[in-house]
């Protein structure tokens, strides 16, 4: 009893110690950047600067400033009809004429004078909520703007990070579902790590009355939006926004940064780039990064910055890894990377062969036979050995290892009257394939054997020699010359590989 009690005390002490260590040694406090309380660098200096706004997938250049400035942003709301998919029109409501809206780039501590203009042709009033704003509504309460009007408000960008902005006019979900969102980057005072290329990608879900890819003008479907049954899930507002000629471009050796946002309105994104590993992910668009990430979660109304170095040429595919969105609702984009191959990193396809599983056999006899055949000293035994290896690799998948085939599907080679009757016909079947009805050992078969175009004359001869000398067949020998003769006198089937 006493011993047991002592042990428990020791255990509890150990646990307490572990707990203390975990709590006191966390490095978070030491590197805290101070948040909004530390984000005011004083009054703006110098002349006001007009912000450079860019359409997706482009990103404005770094601010390259060391002092806070007054930055003037002029953003125009336009209601525009565009293609959401090939042959499918949709009326988007936009900040700047595109989905997502124009990219805005400022520096922490900047004073931003924001002008929201609502085009006279707009049908709706609109406003803007920038998640980078500290204040009621994120600007929405100060920017409610009728068609043909403009509003102005000013805010100081106190927190660094990558922020979504969006419309917040009733019904908010509908305004967002129609494409009213974009990104504003607030650079930390020291700027961001230098990269070779920056791109702007925002996911959004769309709800149309017609089905996915149903042609014509498609109106918004409120019920589908309420039910969260997206018709389209897209990067940058249309199915082809980053495909084919519109693919993002990079070169081998370059580091790419994607500013990724998710406008929603409903769905979170499992953002992934096929064939890349994110070297760094500034999760949720914040200050710190995680390294070596495969897929990062981008919530609706949230963001992430992802960075990766292009090591090899080729096409990398951007997807929402909730995969039916990628392949059935349009959430696909491309980065095409040009440059020299690096076979050490990625070889490309080296082998394309039949997988044998436990039927794998040594290829040694085949090599032996090839050498012997070249020197003219090929024996029957060598031929049978090589034929067995080749048969197991190529033929046994259908005709089975014991040559019995499969009843009614693949004809038997064992004790086969068809084989026995005409060896040239057998050679032709291997070379050119065989399809249509045949009768073997009294049974009817009607299937397709493809031409074995990958086999050379020697190999065909080995296989047939092996077959003739196995499973109760009469024996005999087929020579490469005989195969060559058949090859030269029979018609190659259309579509044969070579």
């Amino acid at each position: 009893m006493k011993r047991q009690a002592k042990l428990s005390v020791a255990l509890i002490t150990a646990m307490l110690l572990i707990g203390c260590q975990g709590g006191s040694q966390a490095p978070v406090v030491a590197t805290d950047t101070g948040g909004s309380a530390a984000g005011d660098f004083g009054p703006p200096q110098g002349e006001p600067i007009k912000a450079v706004l860019t359409s997706p997938p482009n990103v404005p250049p770094p601010t390259n400033r060391t002092a806070p400035a007054k930055v003037i942003v002029e953003l125009e709301v336009r209601e525009v009809e565009k293609e959401i998919s090939e042959g499918v029109k949709y009326t988007f409501w936009t900040f700047g004429g595109t989905v997502p809206g124009s990219f805005i780039r400022v520096r922490q501590g900047d004073t931003v004078e924001f002008h929201l203009k609502n085009h006279p042709d707009s049908k709706m009033p609109h406003n803007i909520d920038l998640h980078a704003v500290t204040g009621p509504g994120g600007g929405a309460t100060s920017s409610f703007t009728a068609p043909g009007h403009q509003s102005q408000f000013t805010f100081k960008a106190l927190n660094a990070g990558l922020y979504i902005y969006h419309c917040a006019t009733a019904p908010v979900g509908m305004h967002v579902a129609n494409g009213m969102y974009g990104l504003i980057l607030v650079e930390p005072p020291e700027g961001l790590r230098k990269v070779d290329r920056e791109y702007y990608v925002v996911q959004g879900d769309f709800y149309t009355v017609g089905k996915y890819r149903e042609k014509g003008v498609q109106p918004f479907d409120m019920q589908k939006a309420i039910d969260e049954h997206a018709t389209y899930v897209l990067f940058n507002g249309s199915e082809g926004a980053m495909l084919g000629d519109n693919a993002l471009k990079a070169k081998v050796g370059e580091t790419v940064r994607l500013y990724v946002g998710n406008g929603g309105p409903n769905l979170s994104s499992s953002f992934h780039v096929i064939g890349e590993i994110f070297d760094r992910v500034y999760t949720e668009g914040g200050t710190r990064y995680q390294e070596n990430v495969q897929t990062t979660m981008v919530p609706a109304g949230g963001s992430a910055m992802v960075e990766f170095r292009m090591e090899v040429p080729g096409t990398s595919i951007l997807v929402d890894h909730a995969l039916f969105r990628a392949f059935n609702k349009g959430a696909l984009g491309m980065i095409k990377t040009e440059g020299p191959d690096n076979k050490a990193v990625y070889s490309g396809k080296e082998v394309d062969s039949v997988y044998l599983g436990d039927k794998a056999v040594s290829a040694t006899p085949v090599a032996e036979a090839a050498t012997a055949s070249a020197s003219g000293a090929l024996t029957l035994k060598q031929q049978i050995g090589a034929g067995a290896a080749l048969y197991n690799g190529t033929c046994s998948v259908c005709h089975q290892a014991n040559g019995e085939g499969l009843p009614a599907v693949f004809p038997p080679l064992a004790k086969s009257d068809y084989l026995k009757a005409d060896s040239n016909r057998a050679i032709s079947a291997v070379l050119n394939g065989l399809s249509g009805p045949v009768k073997v050992n009294g049974k009817d078969f009607n299937s397709v054997m493809p031409p074995m175009s990958q086999l050379n004359d020697d190999e065909v001869a080995h296989i047939l020699t092996y077959v003739l000398n196995s499973w109760g067949n009469p024996g005999g020998q087929v020579s490469a010359a005989q195969v060559a003769k058949v090859r030269g006198t029979t018609a190659r089937p259309k579509g044969a590989a070579n």
Binding site: E79, V80, E81, T91, H119, P120, D121, S122, K123, M124, P125, N127, D129, P136, G137, A140, T141, S142, S143, F144, T145, A146, P147, G148, H149, A168, T169, A170, P171, V172, M174, N178, V209, P219, F220, D221, M222, Q223
Partner: protein
């Protein structure tokens, strides 16, 4: 016999153009939240123009009421850069604007003046909402998804896409046309139904922006078509106008 009567009725309606149609009184539930009223809202019988006022009709009005011509109207009552800016001159429509299109780019003050000149007034929001709740066969079709979808489909078309002419939608059960699917319409008391500028706030509309007991907020958040109309009107001041905002007049029945 009945079809003949129906045809005759239609002919009369067509001949009337934007004449007035008597709308029987009744009770309905507003999507707006009235602080002083719970449940249904009563609307007394009144008369409403069957179609919105057209460019042609408004042109006649400004020819006789010169103070409402573009360039003459006081900026305080009609924002000069927008007011009737789609007409070729202050007194001529020009080739791209049709006399049969509803007049747009008119301020609330100008619309009010037009109706007053007719011995009429703008309809109240309650009157407008009450009549606009109907479809061709029901007095209150607002819970019908088809009714909502039809209106939302119009919202989805850009105002820049070109404006139709009045009378192009079927008359509703009261014989009134174009309440949906053509233009937004001013109401007399539009400024009393402000939606909060940030429509997500759970508190009601910004009380500081209007006074008295007319404080309203949206009650039926499901009813998007009506909510958007309220949002549009609440984004405007009385001198403002847009390319998709028109009006029609109403008369009280004494």
């Amino acid at each position: 016999m009945r079809p003949a009567v129906l045809v005759l009725g239609l002919l009369v309606a067509a001949a009337q153009g934007s004449g007035y149609q008597r709308v029987p009184g009744g009770e309905y539930r507003s999507v707006l939240k009235y602080e002083d009223l719970k449940g249904s809202r009563a609307v007394a019988a009144f008369e409403l123009m069957t179609q919105p006022v057209t460019n042609g009709e408004f042109l006649k009005f400004v020819r006789t009421h010169r103070e409402w011509q573009r360039g003459r109207a006081l900026p305080l009552y009609a924002e000069p850069s927008a007011y009737l800016s789609h007409w070729q001159t202050p007194t001529a429509l020009g080739p791209v604007t049709s006399a049969r299109q509803p007049v747009t780019r008119v301020s609330w003050f100008a619309a009010t003046a037009y109706c007053e000149a007719q011995g009429a007034r703008l309809p109240t929001w309650s009157e407008w909402e009450y009549v606009a709740a109907a479809d061709e066969t029901h007095r209150d079709a607002r819970q019908d998804p088809a009714w909502r979808e039809r209106i939302l489909a119009w919202y989805a078309r850009s105002a820049g896409a070109g404006l139709g002419v009045v009378g192009s939608t079927p008359p509703n059960v009261y014989g009134i046309q174009d309440l949906h699917g053509l233009v937004w319409e001013w109401t007399d008391d539009y400024s009393a139904m402000l939606v909060s500028a940030d429509n997500r706030s759970q508190s009601e509309a910004d009380r500081a922006r209007f006074c008295g007991a007319g404080a309203l907020a949206v009650d039926d958040r499901e009813n998007y078509p009506v909510m958007m109309r309220v949002a549009l009107l609440s984004s405007l001041r009385g001198a403002d106008s847009t390319s998709s905002l028109g009006f029609r007049c109403a008369r009280s029945i004494r």
